[in-house]
Amino acid sequence: MEIPYTVKPRPDTGLYNAKLGIWLFLASEVMLFGGLFSAYILLRVSSDLWPHGMVSIPVGTFNTFVLIASSVTVVMSWASLKLGKLSAFKGYMAATIVCALGFLGVKSFEYYAKFTHYDVWFKDEATAKKYFTAAYGEKGEEATRKLFVERFHLHNTKATYDANQIQLTGHLFGNPMFATLKKLTSAKQETIQFTPDAPFGTHDHPKAIEVKLSDVQRLSAYVPAHSTYFAIYFTITALHGLHVLGGAIVLAYFLFTADHWWKKSPEQMANRVEVGGLFWHFVDLVWIFLFPIIYLL
């Protein structure tokens, strides 16, 4: 028993099975990411304040380049196969996988930076001001306010800020990941050592200050629980990252079984690479939208 059209296209549709299959799958992926993008738009439109510049643009740009490069190499690897150049195929495919790993490496570095970066909100305005001065000296309130304005691009919108909402941003002593107020208090800690970020527009290194946990209203690392911005950032990029990982595994499989398939059925092999490539381009395509909406806008 042989299933027809696994290699040759069916004449009336002009497609071989796997190509149709992958496009159907991609259609469902469009709806999957479409659902997530809808969530993004909705949350953003209905929020009063949406932060900007929370993630590093140069890093994001670099990763964009990496993915674009991998898209080029994967299509080149397919073209090489079509031209009958097995070793060129292997080279391009290896490059693609290196790009994929590079992308994931950069991404995990970015994640780590976020997981150890904290915002602290205080009980009330007076307490907050006290800590602002402790962190940035006399002009402390002004400095935090500037950071806040910058974060929410308030110079661009009519929205104003609420002194209660302003937070202090920085790192905890020992650079722990995922600390929360609950965890800290249940660890019988009463104060934390908090190193605030540099004031807006400078590269100063403010000294660590001591913050009483009883003054703190909320403390959160840059994790999904921090805000809907980070929630959507992590969800979409993590899901995208999983796609990159999955794609890389499949492509690596093609690479390592290349000799075997080349002997067995070069035409089918080219088909498989084409199909894998289609998936890979799709992953790139999602990133093309992700990059501006998450890093830039």
Partner: protein, 128 residues
């Protein structure tokens, strides 16, 4: 849903020519040049978007519109050239057309529904 009634191609005719064309080394070499060009365009597009961010266009709406426009153009190149969509079968077009319709209705109607409340639903920004 999608279906084409055309059965103009009998088994093993017409389409196979097309197929052979697409497999000829000259054709592949031509496409390779195209791929590299598109790669260049994608790099350029990215740089453009990022540059725009640093330029600080005063209108938020304009920034969003331009960034999304560039992204769409880039996406169109990836889909059209890398994914061979510019030269694909009718069947795939019809599938994608359905998908896009539903995607638009998902986003559009949801947004519309969330913005069509007949009243102010918040009192002083707070629900009480």
């Amino acid at each position: 849903m999608s279906h084409d009634h055309s059965h103009s191609h009998g088994p093993g005719e017409a389409c196979d020519h097309g197929h052979d064309d697409h497999n000829s080394p000259e054709y592949i070499h031509k496409t390779i040049r195209k791929y590299l060009k598109v790669g260049g365009i994608l790099f350029a597009g990215t740089i453009l978007t990022v540059a725009m961010y640093y330029v600080h266009i005063p209108s938020v709406a304009a920034t969003i519109a331009i960034a999304l426009l560039i992204a769409t153009v880039k996406a169109a190149f990836v889909a059209g050239v890398f994914m061979h969509l510019s030269d694909e079968r009718k069947m795939i077009y019809s599938i994608l057309l359905c998908t896009v319709c539903f995607l638009i209705s998902l986003m559009g109607l949801t947004l519309w529904a969330m913005n069509d409340f007949p009243f102010f639903t918040l009192v002083d920004g707070k629900p009480f």
